[in-house]
Amino acid sequence: MMVMLDLLLDLLLSPWVFVPLVYPGLVSAFALLLFIIWAERKMAGKVQMRYGPLYVLKPLGGIIQLVVDRIRYLFQEPIVPEEADAAAFVLAPIALFTACLLPVVVIPVGPEFYAFRSDISLLAFLALSSLAPAFTVAVGWASSNKFSLIGGLREGYLALAYEVPLVVSALAGAALYGTMDLVEMAEAQSSVWGVCLNPLAALVFLLLVYMETSRFPFEISEAESEIVMGPFTEYSGILYGLCMGASYVKMYALSLLFTVMFLGAWHPLPPPTGTVLDPILPGAVVFAKALAVMLCGTLLRAVYQRYRIDQALKISWHTLTPLSLASLALSALVGVA
């Protein structure tokens, strides 16, 4: 019996199971979802001179407000409209959520603790993360509602607009270290972080992360005041919980990538404590930095209004794409020196 337990423990702690399941995978994503939306509402409240959610758990400032919202979604009646295509209506949000969470598998946790390593792991990440807009369009089409159709199509427009410069600026980041393997990239940043080498690529990448996950200045596919909730208008209950969580999880994945590529993944390396947690400690540093990036992303909700879709497209095509090409040239220069 004890042998079985050890075997199970080893299996759980082995990278192939631990990474997708616990750290950068499912459990941390859900925990983060609960925390980040609460943090967003509290920060927006602070900026707007008010409390934000409080009386749920008064001593801790209402930190479990999102747990309460999730419980309500859980017990709410999931309505499937007749004229909607029932199968697509239910499966599309699930596919959307997984498509947003999938790229996280590629992120290395520690110098020798990773689930997936190859010399083109950056391209694998970008390929997986470009699946999500397709499912958003499917969500928009499946709920057969004019507003959600428009929302889905808008997501389609935006997907084209932000994928191209995103890939170019990511390649610019990779060109700094001459490799596409995330682990080598992390190792190469031990002395100086990627941001100092090529700040332009970092800035463009960050802006596009906000556009991809419809953060505030570019919250266009689910623009509240024009097309009610965008593609997610017809969803209620836990299906809506999934859809709303999907954009936050995609932001989680992209900010992890941003940390690994530009913010010096796990440097400065925490001292080894010799316990079984030893390989996972660098992951905690990466998680902390990714969390910081996400918090300032969610603060934008309290600061900015919303662009029109043609203005957002003009911004991405006219300014961000040339900028990302310039960053590619800059990193070639820096790489050589």
Binding site: A44, V47, Q48, M49, R50, K146, F147, I150, F216, P217, E219, I220, A223, E224, S225, E226, I227, V228, R301, A302, V303, Y304, Q305, R306, Y307, R308, I309, D310, Q311
Partner: protein, 390 residues
Amino acid sequence: MSEAEERTIELLIGPQHPASGHMRLVARVDGDVVVELRPDIGYVHRTVEKLAEVKTYLQVVPLVERPALADTANHNLGYVLAVERLLGVEAPPRAQYLRTVLAEISRIHSHLYGLGILGIMLGSSTAFMWCFNDREPLIDLAQELTGARLTYSYMIPGGVRRDLPPGFAERAEKVFRYLERRLKDYERLYFRNPVVRARTEGVGVLTREDAVRLGVVGPNLRASGVAYDVREADPYEAYPDLDFHVVTREEGDCAARMWVRVDEIRESMRLVREALSKIPDGPILHERFSKAIPPKWREWMEEKRRVKIPAAMVSLRIPPGEALSRVEAARGELTFYLVSDGSPNPYRMRMVTPSFRNVVLFRHLIRDCRVADIPAIYGSLDYFPPEADR
């Protein structure tokens, strides 16, 4: 279905939609471009004109305020002016000053309400929260003067119901200094925000000729360069002896309408300061009604500085006649046309509210613009549906 019909879809931006208030906008949309928009109003039509014919003159005072809840003082003032012109009565000077003070305070917090709605329509919940938070000190000022948050019913034919509480001017000064400081923060976060400028400048342009031809009123008219304000065109109450200059802008787009409202807030603050400093002493109710009050109540009135409404005013009978009164409400020019036939109830009360005269702008302004421009233009018009439907 012609080919053009084929490609357009009809969007019902209905009563339950963040960008439509209490009405339905039927928009014919081709892709992201709005081909044509038809407003479908009447969702808050509560038949004020018909009810006025079965209520006495004094009972109509609270009825007239309900449609424009964000700006009740000016509607109350408009109706009371019409009754006074029918009676041939003038309120005493102190009452006129008090009316002007309350009208301007109500204008400031109504403009803040409009700017808050424009903020949430553009997508920024911070602008909405800030504007609605900065309305509260002004509502407290009005509550101190009249006792109610929004529905004051402060003005009665012949005067006002309460006198100025002591120390009102200092508190008002404190609130205005706070508001001026806040307006500077608004400029950085809201009015000069690059996203707001991108969304509002050059959007929904109303040329000067169209504004005059369509009979538009209020800040929407003054934003297109027409210097018309009833407080200066046909001055009433205490406005003749306050130096007041009309605020106008030339561009006529959403940003100009927003800026006219901001400058009018500053103008109103200056007017209230001046009115509070120049307010004369004297009675606050016309002697035609105050002599009808039994002497015992009259000392109570002097001592409590409040008015007890005499029986003569409740069953007021006005000889047959008609009168028209024009008042500059926060959203524009408000016209009351009152016809009396000697009975205690008005024979016909015609109330044309500013929002009803701005309804024509929807069809005219929101044409071949983007879907995202509909909330921007709707918010900049500061259109209050209950006031338009009456």
